[in-house]
Assembly symmetry: C2
Homo-oligomer: 529 residues x 2
């Protein structure tokens, strides 16, 4: 397994080379997990590095996946009463420092705008020194401070509450070590910022949005997640409580897929936002914030894909079905194309997105590779024989593994010849099955790489010899103790799972594997992205 830092450096152009790539041009996971990840992104044309250090270009296929995610999330936000708005890209430097913890966390690696004009001096375009801003502007790393400054205008009484606003935006956190989708200087995200009259209501909102994220991850992304809270050391800077969903990638590492923060009155105090409560008294407003980002595309890739390329859950696939025509003679081409057009129309009428790959400069085999590497769930091959027999040849992007099966046998199992009408009518069902199978496969993978661990020796063996994964351990140490484990094993407490997230065999109290102190419940420790 590759070390986490190996591939997190700057642009590689062309894509990482390896002598051991598959026929699809992808480094197998077993050879180098991090090269595999970059190969998938490269082959599927999802993203690439740009000329600007740390900033990525999201290519059309990658962006189409993000758009599908946005639509699904946005629908859920609106269904829970939220509306969208837009706040400025820039934050005055002084705003960032209004909340002490927040400043400590975010007033660090930022893009800072200091001037507002360019000028040609001695024939060279450069920054005009006379255009220096009185106060530097920080490109938003997150928007709590600028948004709460605005909320001050909108909130006078409890009747103005709650405010349930979400923003889709780009944010910038200067990063030296970047990795496409997972960690980039600029990334796209949504950030919800809500204002409430009571602590109870704000806490309910924090939990509600965590549930929305978990529902989206499991039912749309087909990524099983564990809901929990962060330890104080891992909390969002300025939050009283940070809830999160944690997913397991195929290298056994955890990936934080979404966070929902209870901010208490920290930001309303920072921006001096008080309201007249039902009892007629002035009180500071209670806040939450919550967000997910383009990092989810990275999570999606690393959860489902294989050594042939990207695998997408049908609900997020920009193309559900690709039709590849197969013919030799012109007369065959004509009939095959006519049938392809008809099949496309019939499937589109069912709400599916269908691509008819009619490029005539590519052999069918090359097309198969291309669409498989891009994760299209179903391929239909149409040839003259299929026409004669009245069948369609359906090829699934994947089938669930069967122990000991040869690649050859698996390939056969992916392919089926189905009477035409039955095939057309049955594709939505197949897609729904595939969606479910991906989730179950990821769930089984996580189960296989999760371990209940009760001693530091077992912990060490799990992470040093057995590949690691999610360790369910009792841990009652301090932040310093956590740092100590992190230095030895690269592990951190990913979350303190909510009670209903703990499997029966992991329930109950015990003693800390490091300090021997009593612990009320197990936490999840893992290496993480």
């Amino acid at each position: 397994m590759a070390s986490p830092d190996k591939s997190s450096s700057q642009p590689k152009s062309p894509a990482p080379q390896s002598d051991q790539k598959t026929g699809a041009g992808i480094t197998p996971r077993s050879v180098s997990y991090s090269d595999w990840y970059l190969d998938i992104i490269h082959k599927a044309e999802l993203a690439e590095h740009s000329a600007v250090r740390g900033c990525m270009v999201i290519r059309p296929h990658g962006y189409a996946i993000w758009e599908k995610m946005q639509r699904e999330l946005d629908d859920r936000f609106k269904a829970t009463g939220h509306v969208n708005a837009y706040f400025p890209l820039f934050i005055p430097l002084s705003f960032l420092t209004r909340e002490e913890q927040h400043a400590a966390g975010f007033a660090k690696e930022c893009a800072v705008v200091t001037h507002h004009r360019l000028k040609t001096i001695d024939g060279v375009v450069q920054v005009d020194p006379d255009s220096k801003l009185e106060e530097p502007l920080v490109v938003r790393p997150t928007s709590e401070t600028i948004i709460w400054h605005q909320y001050k205008n909108w909130i006078q009484s409890y009747r103005d509450l709650p405010i349930l606003i979400n923003q889709w935006a780009n944010v910038v956190r200067w990063e030296l070590r970047t990795r496409l989708f997972l960690r980039t200087a600029e990334f796209l995200w949504q950030e919800g910022h809500t204002a409430h009259a009571t602590e109870a209501e704000a806490l309910t909102e924090t939990q509600r949005m965590l549930d929305v994220y978990a529902d989206f991850a499991e039912n749309v992304m087909a990524v099983p997640v564990i809901k929990g809270r962060k330890t104080p050391g891992e909390r969002f800077a300025g939050a009283l409580d940070t809830m999160c969903i944690e997913a397991m990638m195929q290298d056994g590492k955890a990936l934080q897929a979404g966070t929902s923060h209870y901010l208490g009155q920290n930001f309303s105090k920072g921006a001096d936002v008080k309201f007249l409560n039902r009892e007629g008294k002035l009180e500071y407003v209670y806040a939450t914030s919550w967000g997910v980002s383009t990092r989810l595309v990275g999570a999606l890739i690393m959860t489902h894909s294989d050594d042939t390329g990207l695998i997408l859950p049908p609900k997020l696939a920009p193309i559900h079905v690709v039709i590849v025509p197969i013919y030799r003679k012109d007369e065959e081409k004509e009939r095959v194309y006519a049938e392809a057009d008809k099949v496309k129309a019939e499937l589109s009428a069912q709400g599916l997105t269908v691509k008819f790959d009619d490029r005539d400069n590519l052999q069918p085999g090359a097309k198969f590779y291309e669409w498989e590497s891009k994760g299209v769930p179903i391929r239909i091959e149409i040839g003259p024989k299929d026409l004669e027999k009245g069948v369609l040849c359906l090829v699934r992007r994947f089938v669930l593994e069967q122990p000991g099966e040869t690649p050859e046998a698996e390939r056969k199992r992916r392919k089926s010849f189905v009477p035409r009408a039955e095939a057309i009518a049955g594709i939505p069902t197949i897609l729904a099955e595939m969606q479910k199978e991906l989730y179950l496969r990821a769930l089984a993978f996580r189960a296989a790489r999760s371990r209940i661990i009760d001693s530091l020796e077992d912990f060490e063996r799990f992470f040093k010899q057995e590949g690691g994964g999610f360790a369910w351990v009792h841990f009652a140490g301090s932040s310093d103790d956590e740092d100590q484990l992190s230095k030895r094993f690269e592990t951190t407490v990913r979350c303190i799972p909510l009670p209903d997230q703990i499997p029966p065999e992991a329930q109950g109290s015990g003693t800390c594997i490091l300090t021997g102190q009593p612990s009320p419940q197990r936490v999840i420790m893992a290496k993480a992205y």
Copy 2:
């Protein structure tokens, strides 16, 4: 009529005051057009200034309109074969200077990032002087240069073309004089950037997207537009040809509502993007770019609204119907609420967005004002008497003016009592009528404020005494001549209309009103936003 500069200064808080506001709290257009515009925005809660100079906050109601615009535009882009992608926010300074004309146009008032870290020095958070970037980064004012740099990786042969990409993004152009939606330092927009193998194909694309914009403006925004080309002096910096759509606002001024540029090979040369053409020769790629922005929300406001508040074409209304309950006793309330819930459900089932205003701390009259000022097309008032009679009271946001009619009479005409089933079934038809009426009203307004003008004297009278509007004139002057007219009358050539955009009475050649030189066709001159 207010001068264009009067309101274009910085944040006013609270909203502009006037002694002559209407009952709805809005300065009438006849008193101050610019105050009227700001009052509409304030009352409808569309946007407001932020703490960051020149940057606006788009409030939920304003953003919901923008979202509707986005959806409609995005559907049209996709239907014409385009896909979305995302490119970096930052542009290395040197990139901006790669295309000479572009540099002259855009390497000016920009937000420039010069540092990447903040640091606490002497207890104060400030820019870390040690974090100075080797090359300053400009926050994108437009993305041609960074995108064409990336296209270089994607284009080798004619088989890689065309590339038809659009980006939804924020851009920044430092502005000293800002006006909400119309001119702000940061704004939201979409920018299409396409790459083609031939000039002919790129020219077709330029025209196609202009047509898409015109279709959107007229059929969705209900804003009539004239399609034309810009004079060389008004072209996009780096374009060989800039096509535009021009709309007329209610003060007779023109507003450029969208542009589509043919860029020739200027940007492919700047970024050195060549391709192997069908003849096997290396050639520079042909380019277009096209965009519309949140400025369209300003155009929408200024085209349709009245002294009562915002008026929205139903296709862009975030709420189509608002239901206001009217009752005195608790027993009435119960019945009225039950009916309101049912009506809401029945209308929602037809795909309409319905708001039931069940706030019990507001009188019906206050609710009427609020939703009228927010531009909701139809209000349904439900009271006990309506229940008894089996009718719904429908109130349209507007009816077409009838000459000499009193406000009282107009108010009556807006209101109708319709048998329940008929009302429910008929609302989509009423909305479609309203959509059409808004377009026709704007068209009639434009006709009334357009003039065919053949002498400088008439031109002067039109703009100095008669309120101005669109002047259809023969103009064959130079850029300097254009500047001269601009200084005297604040007018510019808004566009050289496409042949099919010229009304019969304005067709044909003639002589320039300024220079007396022969002119092949009339152009439109107007004051402009």
